[in-house]
Symmetry: C2
């Protein structure tokens, strides 16, 4: 299975797959022509990575999850731990973004948005003083 096929199968771009090899997330074999030769196991790993990345796990988290996945004597508590930490990061990020959204949407509704220079958005950004 060469890179194009495994790319189609996993949904990951070839570039990304090469990058994942670069950082040792996968270690495909090589054919005599120098082409990467992915086993089903490799393909499966890449699908795993794609799914984990789509849930927002960092590459380092993915590395951990992958090694837990391949460790038959893992404790599910370790997996849960990684996931819970990630969940917290997501929650914090959502809160941050929500705060931005609230502020910004208020400002946007206050701005009449015509050809006059007067603008509450800029006023807010500029703080109390004027220039």
């Amino acid at each position: 299975m060469n890179i194009g096929e495994v790319s189609a199968a996993s949904g990951l771009p070839p570039k990304t797959i090469r990058y994942y090899e670069d950082i040792d997330l996968v270690r495909p074999a090589r054919g005599t022509n120098g082409y990467r030769d992915f086993s089903d196991r490799d393909a499966h790993k890449l699908a795993f990575l794609g799914r984990a990345r789509s849930l927002g796990f960092s590459i380092e988290d993915c590395r951990t999850l992958l090694s837990l996945y391949e460790d038959r004597s893992r404790a599910s508590a370790d997996v849960k731990d990684v996931a819970e930490h990630h969940l917290e990061r997501i929650a914090r990020k959502i809160e941050e973004l929500e705060a931005m959204r609230v502020t910004l949407s208020t400002l946007v509704t206050q701005c009449h948005g015509d050809d006059r220079p007067d603008c509450p958005i800029l006023d807010d950004l500029a703080g109390s003083e004027q220039t």
Copy 2:
């Protein structure tokens, strides 16, 4: 006003301020000793940038906003436009993160999180097949 003072005043780290000079967001004067010498106007600009960044505007958006801010004949519609686009990006990002959160929190609650290897989180990441 040298960089330390303007840093304290704006809340931006000196490194960031130097970076902003590097990319031409501010152009502080220089003293005879080579030190940057920030005017009140510079300090004000930096505070503006800090506020805009804290609302999640990209550097390029900040550049645009700053130039609108300094353009007395601007149309508030242009400012509103930038803000609305940014608001949309934020909304999309929140939706993405919410989707992750929903999936992840479901998985996390399903995982017993003990010393047994059995784990719904890994099962999900692995997809339908097993290895």
